[in-house]
Symmetry: C2
Subunit: 229 residues, 2 copies
Protein backbone atom coordinates (compact mmCIF):
# COMPACT_ATOMS: atom_id res chain seq x y z
CA UNK A 1 0.00 0.00 0.00
CA UNK A 2 1.18 3.51 -0.79
CA UNK A 3 2.42 5.73 2.03
CA UNK A 4 0.14 8.68 2.70
CA UNK A 5 1.27 12.18 3.62
CA UNK A 6 -0.70 15.34 4.46
CA UNK A 7 1.01 18.57 3.42
CA UNK A 8 0.34 22.30 3.18
CA UNK A 9 0.25 23.53 -0.43
CA UNK A 10 0.56 27.31 -0.64
CA UNK A 11 1.01 27.46 -4.41
CA UNK A 12 4.52 28.87 -3.99
CA UNK A 13 7.64 27.26 -5.44
CA UNK A 14 8.74 25.49 -2.22
CA UNK A 15 5.53 23.65 -1.37
CA UNK A 16 4.90 22.86 -5.05
CA UNK A 17 8.36 21.27 -5.19
CA UNK A 18 7.50 19.40 -1.99
CA UNK A 19 4.40 17.99 -3.66
CA UNK A 20 6.52 16.96 -6.67
CA UNK A 21 9.02 15.35 -4.27
CA UNK A 22 6.38 13.16 -2.61
CA UNK A 23 4.86 12.11 -5.95
CA UNK A 24 8.37 11.30 -7.23
CA UNK A 25 8.80 9.06 -4.18
CA UNK A 26 5.48 7.26 -4.71
CA UNK A 27 3.38 8.77 -1.94
CA UNK A 28 -0.33 9.37 -2.03
CA UNK A 29 -0.66 13.06 -1.07
CA UNK A 30 -3.44 14.99 0.68
CA UNK A 31 -2.86 18.72 0.15
CA UNK A 32 -4.27 21.34 2.53
CA UNK A 33 -4.75 24.73 0.89
CA UNK A 34 -5.19 27.30 3.67
CA UNK A 35 -7.12 30.54 3.35
CA UNK A 36 -6.03 32.52 6.40
CA UNK A 37 -6.65 36.11 5.34
CA UNK A 38 -3.26 37.16 3.99
CA UNK A 39 -3.13 39.88 1.34
CA UNK A 40 -1.91 37.43 -1.31
CA UNK A 41 -4.15 34.54 -0.22
CA UNK A 42 -6.67 34.61 -3.06
CA UNK A 43 -3.83 34.65 -5.60
CA UNK A 44 -1.76 31.92 -3.97
CA UNK A 45 -4.86 29.74 -3.42
CA UNK A 46 -5.56 29.99 -7.17
CA UNK A 47 -1.96 28.99 -7.90
CA UNK A 48 -2.28 26.03 -5.51
CA UNK A 49 -5.47 24.89 -7.27
CA UNK A 50 -3.77 25.19 -10.69
CA UNK A 51 -0.83 23.11 -9.42
CA UNK A 52 -3.22 20.50 -8.05
CA UNK A 53 -5.10 20.32 -11.37
CA UNK A 54 -1.80 19.95 -13.22
CA UNK A 55 -0.80 16.91 -11.14
CA UNK A 56 -4.28 15.38 -11.34
CA UNK A 57 -4.21 15.77 -15.15
CA UNK A 58 -1.01 13.74 -15.37
CA UNK A 59 -2.62 10.99 -13.24
CA UNK A 60 -0.85 11.62 -9.92
CA UNK A 61 -2.30 10.36 -6.64
CA UNK A 62 -3.12 13.72 -5.13
CA UNK A 63 -6.15 15.21 -3.41
CA UNK A 64 -6.74 18.72 -2.10
CA UNK A 65 -9.00 20.50 0.34
CA UNK A 66 -9.43 24.23 0.98
CA UNK A 67 -9.38 25.09 4.68
CA UNK A 68 -10.69 28.54 5.59
CA UNK A 69 -9.28 29.81 8.89
CA UNK A 70 -9.54 33.51 8.10
CA UNK A 71 -12.23 34.13 10.76
CA UNK A 72 -10.04 32.48 13.39
CA UNK A 73 -7.02 34.59 12.49
CA UNK A 74 -8.96 37.86 12.28
CA UNK A 75 -7.28 40.19 14.75
CA UNK A 76 -3.91 38.42 14.56
CA UNK A 77 -1.15 41.02 14.26
CA UNK A 78 0.81 40.87 10.99
CA UNK A 79 1.42 43.06 7.94
CA UNK A 80 0.97 39.93 5.82
CA UNK A 81 -2.73 39.93 6.70
CA UNK A 82 -5.42 42.04 5.02
CA UNK A 83 -5.95 43.75 8.41
CA UNK A 84 -2.26 44.72 8.74
CA UNK A 85 -0.03 47.50 7.33
CA UNK A 86 1.91 47.57 4.05
CA UNK A 87 4.09 44.69 2.84
CA UNK A 88 7.74 45.82 3.12
CA UNK A 89 9.92 45.89 -0.01
CA UNK A 90 13.56 44.83 -0.16
CA UNK A 91 15.65 41.84 0.87
CA UNK A 92 14.00 38.69 2.29
CA UNK A 93 16.36 38.76 5.29
CA UNK A 94 15.92 42.49 6.07
CA UNK A 95 14.65 43.40 9.55
CA UNK A 96 11.46 45.00 8.23
CA UNK A 97 10.41 41.56 6.90
CA UNK A 98 9.61 40.65 10.52
CA UNK A 99 6.38 42.62 10.01
CA UNK A 100 5.25 39.72 7.80
CA UNK A 101 5.47 37.07 10.53
CA UNK A 102 1.98 35.70 11.27
CA UNK A 103 1.87 34.53 14.91
CA UNK A 104 1.43 30.78 15.25
CA UNK A 105 0.71 30.27 11.55
CA UNK A 106 2.74 27.13 10.92
CA UNK A 107 1.68 25.69 14.27
CA UNK A 108 -2.00 26.17 13.42
CA UNK A 109 -1.49 24.68 9.94
CA UNK A 110 0.43 21.71 11.37
CA UNK A 111 -2.04 21.00 14.18
CA UNK A 112 -4.96 20.89 11.72
CA UNK A 113 -2.96 18.69 9.32
CA UNK A 114 -2.10 16.34 12.20
CA UNK A 115 -5.81 15.92 12.99
CA UNK A 116 -6.56 15.18 9.33
CA UNK A 117 -3.62 12.74 9.12
CA UNK A 118 -4.81 10.78 12.15
CA UNK A 119 -8.37 10.72 10.77
CA UNK A 120 -7.41 9.42 7.29
CA UNK A 121 -4.64 7.09 8.44
CA UNK A 122 -1.65 9.08 7.13
CA UNK A 123 1.51 8.63 9.18
CA UNK A 124 3.21 11.86 8.15
CA UNK A 125 2.52 15.53 7.81
CA UNK A 126 4.95 17.73 5.89
CA UNK A 127 5.91 21.38 5.72
CA UNK A 128 7.92 23.11 2.99
CA UNK A 129 10.05 25.25 5.34
CA UNK A 130 13.64 25.72 4.16
CA UNK A 131 16.90 27.28 5.30
CA UNK A 132 16.18 30.68 3.75
CA UNK A 133 13.13 31.10 6.01
CA UNK A 134 15.02 30.60 9.26
CA UNK A 135 16.30 34.11 9.88
CA UNK A 136 12.96 35.91 9.95
CA UNK A 137 10.37 33.21 10.68
CA UNK A 138 10.72 31.44 14.06
CA UNK A 139 8.17 28.81 13.00
CA UNK A 140 10.37 27.68 10.10
CA UNK A 141 13.55 27.01 12.11
CA UNK A 142 15.00 23.54 12.66
CA UNK A 143 14.55 23.66 16.46
CA UNK A 144 10.87 24.54 16.05
CA UNK A 145 10.28 21.73 13.53
CA UNK A 146 12.04 19.22 15.82
CA UNK A 147 9.93 20.27 18.80
CA UNK A 148 6.75 20.29 16.68
CA UNK A 149 7.50 16.71 15.59
CA UNK A 150 7.82 15.60 19.21
CA UNK A 151 4.62 17.44 20.20
CA UNK A 152 2.60 15.91 17.35
CA UNK A 153 4.01 12.43 18.05
CA UNK A 154 2.86 12.77 21.67
CA UNK A 155 -0.50 14.34 20.77
CA UNK A 156 -1.28 11.47 18.38
CA UNK A 157 0.06 8.65 20.58
CA UNK A 158 2.93 8.27 18.06
CA UNK A 159 0.61 7.74 15.07
CA UNK A 160 1.76 10.89 13.20
CA UNK A 161 5.19 12.43 12.65
CA UNK A 162 6.34 15.70 11.07
CA UNK A 163 8.80 15.77 8.18
CA UNK A 164 10.38 18.73 6.50
CA UNK A 165 12.53 17.43 3.63
CA UNK A 166 13.91 20.86 2.56
CA UNK A 167 14.79 22.12 6.03
CA UNK A 168 18.53 22.29 5.28
CA UNK A 169 18.16 23.44 1.68
CA UNK A 170 18.03 26.90 0.19
CA UNK A 171 15.67 27.98 -2.59
CA UNK A 172 18.31 27.30 -5.25
CA UNK A 173 18.67 23.63 -4.21
CA UNK A 174 14.89 23.29 -4.09
CA UNK A 175 14.66 24.51 -7.70
CA UNK A 176 17.38 22.07 -8.71
CA UNK A 177 15.42 19.16 -7.21
CA UNK A 178 12.24 20.29 -8.93
CA UNK A 179 13.76 20.44 -12.41
CA UNK A 180 15.30 16.96 -11.95
CA UNK A 181 12.06 15.09 -11.13
CA UNK A 182 10.55 12.70 -13.73
CA UNK A 183 7.56 15.03 -13.92
CA UNK A 184 9.19 18.50 -13.81
CA UNK A 185 7.52 20.80 -11.28
CA UNK A 186 5.06 23.26 -12.93
CA UNK A 187 6.83 26.44 -11.77
CA UNK A 188 4.94 28.40 -14.44
CA UNK A 189 1.78 27.89 -12.33
CA UNK A 190 3.30 28.87 -8.96
CA UNK A 191 3.20 32.25 -7.23
CA UNK A 192 5.46 33.57 -4.49
CA UNK A 193 4.61 37.30 -4.20
CA UNK A 194 3.28 38.71 -0.88
CA UNK A 195 1.27 41.53 -2.46
CA UNK A 196 -2.44 41.71 -3.15
CA UNK A 197 -2.28 41.88 -6.95
CA UNK A 198 -2.81 39.43 -9.80
CA UNK A 199 0.69 39.85 -11.29
CA UNK A 200 3.65 39.24 -8.93
CA UNK A 201 5.36 42.51 -7.98
CA UNK A 202 9.00 41.43 -8.33
CA UNK A 203 9.99 43.83 -5.52
CA UNK A 204 8.84 42.35 -2.19
CA UNK A 205 11.29 40.23 -0.20
CA UNK A 206 9.57 37.06 -1.25
CA UNK A 207 9.70 37.83 -5.00
CA UNK A 208 13.33 38.95 -4.66
CA UNK A 209 14.37 35.68 -3.02
CA UNK A 210 12.65 33.63 -5.73
CA UNK A 211 14.20 35.68 -8.54
CA UNK A 212 17.67 35.24 -7.00
CA UNK A 213 17.29 31.46 -6.99
CA UNK A 214 16.29 31.33 -10.68
CA UNK A 215 19.04 33.80 -11.56
CA UNK A 216 21.67 31.77 -9.68
CA UNK A 217 20.78 28.71 -11.77
CA UNK A 218 20.67 30.73 -15.00
CA UNK A 219 17.05 29.74 -15.62
CA UNK A 220 14.42 32.30 -16.61
CA UNK A 221 11.58 32.42 -14.06
CA UNK A 222 8.57 31.33 -16.15
CA UNK A 223 6.04 33.59 -14.37
CA UNK A 224 5.16 37.17 -15.26
CA UNK A 225 6.25 40.13 -13.09
CA UNK A 226 4.85 43.67 -12.90
CA UNK A 227 8.36 45.20 -12.67
CA UNK A 228 11.22 44.45 -15.04
CA UNK A 229 13.40 41.73 -13.46
CA UNK B 1 0.14 46.26 34.93
CA UNK B 2 -1.88 43.08 35.26
CA UNK B 3 -0.57 39.86 33.76
CA UNK B 4 -2.64 38.61 30.84
CA UNK B 5 -3.45 34.97 30.10
CA UNK B 6 -5.39 33.35 27.23
CA UNK B 7 -7.24 30.17 28.20
CA UNK B 8 -9.76 27.70 26.79
CA UNK B 9 -13.09 27.83 28.63
CA UNK B 10 -15.21 24.76 27.91
CA UNK B 11 -17.84 25.48 30.54
CA UNK B 12 -16.90 22.31 32.45
CA UNK B 13 -15.80 22.28 36.07
CA UNK B 14 -12.03 22.11 35.38
CA UNK B 15 -11.70 25.08 33.02
CA UNK B 16 -14.19 27.10 35.09
CA UNK B 17 -12.02 26.49 38.16
CA UNK B 18 -9.00 27.49 36.07
CA UNK B 19 -10.70 30.79 35.25
CA UNK B 20 -11.45 31.30 38.96
CA UNK B 21 -7.81 30.47 39.74
CA UNK B 22 -6.45 33.18 37.42
CA UNK B 23 -8.91 35.80 38.69
CA UNK B 24 -7.98 34.86 42.28
CA UNK B 25 -4.33 35.51 41.32
CA UNK B 26 -5.08 38.90 39.76
CA UNK B 27 -4.75 38.07 36.08
CA UNK B 28 -6.65 39.68 33.25
CA UNK B 29 -8.13 36.70 31.36
CA UNK B 30 -9.06 36.23 27.70
CA UNK B 31 -11.28 33.14 27.38
CA UNK B 32 -11.57 31.19 24.13
CA UNK B 33 -14.82 29.27 23.83
CA UNK B 34 -14.40 26.72 21.04
CA UNK B 35 -17.21 25.35 18.92
CA UNK B 36 -15.64 22.32 17.24
CA UNK B 37 -18.65 20.17 16.43
CA UNK B 38 -18.84 17.85 19.43
CA UNK B 39 -22.22 16.41 20.41
CA UNK B 40 -22.32 18.41 23.64
CA UNK B 41 -20.83 21.60 22.15
CA UNK B 42 -23.94 23.76 22.06
CA UNK B 43 -24.67 22.88 25.71
CA UNK B 44 -21.14 23.40 26.97
CA UNK B 45 -20.78 26.67 25.01
CA UNK B 46 -23.92 27.93 26.76
CA UNK B 47 -22.46 26.93 30.14
CA UNK B 48 -19.21 28.75 29.25
CA UNK B 49 -21.15 31.88 28.35
CA UNK B 50 -23.10 31.70 31.64
CA UNK B 51 -19.83 31.33 33.58
CA UNK B 52 -18.36 34.30 31.73
CA UNK B 53 -21.44 36.43 32.48
CA UNK B 54 -21.24 35.44 36.16
CA UNK B 55 -17.65 36.66 36.45
CA UNK B 56 -18.37 39.83 34.46
CA UNK B 57 -21.32 40.59 36.79
CA UNK B 58 -19.06 40.47 39.84
CA UNK B 59 -16.64 42.87 38.12
CA UNK B 60 -13.86 40.46 37.16
CA UNK B 61 -11.36 41.32 34.41
CA UNK B 62 -12.45 38.72 31.91
CA UNK B 63 -13.27 38.72 28.21
CA UNK B 64 -14.49 35.92 25.98
CA UNK B 65 -14.62 35.09 22.30
CA UNK B 66 -16.39 32.24 20.52
CA UNK B 67 -14.14 30.48 18.00
CA UNK B 68 -15.91 28.24 15.50
CA UNK B 69 -13.64 25.52 14.09
CA UNK B 70 -16.38 22.99 13.34
CA UNK B 71 -15.89 23.25 9.55
CA UNK B 72 -12.17 22.57 9.97
CA UNK B 73 -12.78 19.50 12.12
CA UNK B 74 -15.51 18.08 9.91
CA UNK B 75 -14.32 14.61 8.93
CA UNK B 76 -12.12 14.20 12.01
CA UNK B 77 -12.66 10.71 13.45
CA UNK B 78 -14.17 10.68 16.96
CA UNK B 79 -17.34 9.52 18.68
CA UNK B 80 -17.35 12.81 20.57
CA UNK B 81 -18.20 14.62 17.32
CA UNK B 82 -21.67 14.93 15.81
CA UNK B 83 -20.38 12.92 12.82
CA UNK B 84 -19.19 10.01 15.03
CA UNK B 85 -20.86 7.02 16.72
CA UNK B 86 -22.48 6.84 20.17
CA UNK B 87 -20.89 8.22 23.34
CA UNK B 88 -19.83 5.25 25.48
CA UNK B 89 -21.25 4.89 28.99
CA UNK B 90 -19.31 3.78 32.07
CA UNK B 91 -16.05 4.63 33.78
CA UNK B 92 -13.93 7.61 32.59
CA UNK B 93 -10.83 5.38 32.40
CA UNK B 94 -12.51 2.49 30.55
CA UNK B 95 -11.01 1.45 27.20
CA UNK B 96 -14.14 2.36 25.25
CA UNK B 97 -13.64 6.01 26.29
CA UNK B 98 -10.81 6.12 23.71
CA UNK B 99 -13.58 6.51 21.12
CA UNK B 100 -14.05 10.04 22.51
CA UNK B 101 -10.49 11.19 21.72
CA UNK B 102 -10.62 14.00 19.11
CA UNK B 103 -7.37 13.92 17.09
CA UNK B 104 -5.23 17.00 17.63
CA UNK B 105 -7.92 18.87 19.57
CA UNK B 106 -5.82 20.40 22.33
CA UNK B 107 -3.02 21.12 19.89
CA UNK B 108 -5.39 23.03 17.60
CA UNK B 109 -6.90 24.91 20.58
CA UNK B 110 -3.43 25.78 21.94
CA UNK B 111 -2.00 26.87 18.60
CA UNK B 112 -4.91 29.28 18.03
CA UNK B 113 -4.62 30.60 21.61
CA UNK B 114 -0.88 31.13 21.12
CA UNK B 115 -1.57 33.28 18.04
CA UNK B 116 -4.13 35.32 20.00
CA UNK B 117 -1.73 35.68 22.96
CA UNK B 118 1.06 36.99 20.76
CA UNK B 119 -1.35 39.40 19.06
CA UNK B 120 -2.78 40.89 22.29
CA UNK B 121 0.49 40.86 24.26
CA UNK B 122 -0.36 38.00 26.67
CA UNK B 123 2.65 36.03 27.83
CA UNK B 124 0.82 32.85 28.78
CA UNK B 125 -1.74 30.46 27.44
CA UNK B 126 -3.37 27.96 29.77
CA UNK B 127 -5.12 24.61 29.52
CA UNK B 128 -7.25 22.94 32.20
CA UNK B 129 -5.88 19.41 31.67
CA UNK B 130 -5.52 17.39 34.88
CA UNK B 131 -4.23 14.04 36.08
CA UNK B 132 -7.53 12.24 35.57
CA UNK B 133 -7.37 12.94 31.81
CA UNK B 134 -3.96 11.36 31.31
CA UNK B 135 -4.94 7.72 30.86
CA UNK B 136 -7.23 8.15 27.86
CA UNK B 137 -6.27 11.48 26.29
CA UNK B 138 -2.68 11.70 24.95
CA UNK B 139 -3.04 15.48 24.50
CA UNK B 140 -3.64 15.96 28.25
CA UNK B 141 -0.50 14.14 29.50
CA UNK B 142 2.41 15.89 31.20
CA UNK B 143 4.93 14.96 28.47
CA UNK B 144 2.65 16.43 25.80
CA UNK B 145 2.13 19.68 27.74
CA UNK B 146 5.89 20.01 28.30
CA UNK B 147 6.62 19.49 24.61
CA UNK B 148 3.78 21.85 23.62
CA UNK B 149 5.27 24.55 25.86
CA UNK B 150 8.65 24.21 24.17
CA UNK B 151 7.05 24.25 20.69
CA UNK B 152 5.02 27.38 21.44
CA UNK B 153 8.02 29.13 23.03
CA UNK B 154 10.00 28.46 19.83
CA UNK B 155 7.12 29.35 17.50
CA UNK B 156 6.67 32.71 19.24
CA UNK B 157 10.36 33.54 19.65
CA UNK B 158 9.90 32.97 23.41
CA UNK B 159 7.08 35.53 23.74
CA UNK B 160 4.44 32.98 24.84
CA UNK B 161 4.57 30.02 27.25
CA UNK B 162 2.08 27.28 28.14
CA UNK B 163 0.93 26.70 31.69
CA UNK B 164 -1.28 23.99 33.05
CA UNK B 165 -1.80 24.65 36.78
CA UNK B 166 -3.90 21.50 37.47
CA UNK B 167 -1.71 19.03 35.58
CA UNK B 168 -0.82 17.05 38.72
CA UNK B 169 -4.23 17.38 40.38
CA UNK B 170 -7.28 15.18 40.22
CA UNK B 171 -10.85 16.44 39.94
CA UNK B 172 -11.34 16.28 43.72
CA UNK B 173 -8.42 18.65 44.37
CA UNK B 174 -9.66 20.98 41.65
CA UNK B 175 -13.06 21.19 43.36
CA UNK B 176 -11.34 21.89 46.68
CA UNK B 177 -9.44 24.80 45.14
CA UNK B 178 -12.60 26.18 43.60
CA UNK B 179 -14.60 26.22 46.82
CA UNK B 180 -11.72 27.96 48.65
CA UNK B 181 -11.42 30.97 46.31
CA UNK B 182 -12.60 34.42 47.52
CA UNK B 183 -15.22 34.30 44.78
CA UNK B 184 -16.41 30.66 44.92
CA UNK B 185 -16.51 29.06 41.45
CA UNK B 186 -20.08 28.96 40.01
CA UNK B 187 -20.28 25.17 39.66
CA UNK B 188 -24.07 25.46 39.38
CA UNK B 189 -23.54 26.99 35.92
CA UNK B 190 -21.01 24.42 34.65
CA UNK B 191 -21.66 21.34 32.52
CA UNK B 192 -19.48 18.27 32.09
CA UNK B 193 -21.67 15.75 30.22
CA UNK B 194 -20.57 14.43 26.78
CA UNK B 195 -24.11 13.78 25.51
CA UNK B 196 -26.22 15.89 23.17
CA UNK B 197 -29.01 16.74 25.63
CA UNK B 198 -29.97 19.78 27.71
CA UNK B 199 -29.83 17.96 31.07
CA UNK B 200 -26.59 16.12 31.92
CA UNK B 201 -27.01 12.33 31.63
CA UNK B 202 -25.19 11.27 34.82
CA UNK B 203 -24.06 8.04 33.09
CA UNK B 204 -21.30 8.87 30.60
CA UNK B 205 -17.68 8.60 31.77
CA UNK B 206 -17.38 12.35 32.05
CA UNK B 207 -20.49 12.75 34.28
CA UNK B 208 -19.39 9.76 36.39
CA UNK B 209 -15.96 11.26 37.06
CA UNK B 210 -17.49 14.60 38.08
CA UNK B 211 -20.04 12.95 40.37
CA UNK B 212 -17.27 10.92 42.07
CA UNK B 213 -15.33 14.10 42.86
CA UNK B 214 -18.35 15.80 44.48
CA UNK B 215 -19.24 12.60 46.31
CA UNK B 216 -15.68 12.19 47.65
CA UNK B 217 -15.86 15.69 49.16
CA UNK B 218 -19.38 15.11 50.53
CA UNK B 219 -20.74 18.06 48.54
CA UNK B 220 -23.94 17.79 46.51
CA UNK B 221 -23.32 18.52 42.84
CA UNK B 222 -25.47 21.64 42.26
CA UNK B 223 -26.45 20.78 38.66
CA UNK B 224 -29.41 18.70 37.55
CA UNK B 225 -29.04 15.17 36.14
CA UNK B 226 -31.44 13.13 34.00
CA UNK B 227 -30.69 9.93 35.96
CA UNK B 228 -30.86 9.59 39.75
CA UNK B 229 -27.33 10.00 41.17
Amino acid sequence: MKQKVVMGLSGGMDSTTLLGFFLEHGYSVECCIFYYGSKHNQWENKAAQDVLDFYKDVGSLVKGRLINISQIMKGFKSNLLLSGGDIPEGHYHAENMRQTVVPSRNLIFASIMAGIAESIGAEKIALGAHQGDHHIYPDCRAEFIKSLDETICLSSDRKVEVICPFLKDDKTSILQYGYAFKIPVPYHLTRTCYKDQAISCGKCGSCQERLSAFSFLGIADPIQYAEAK
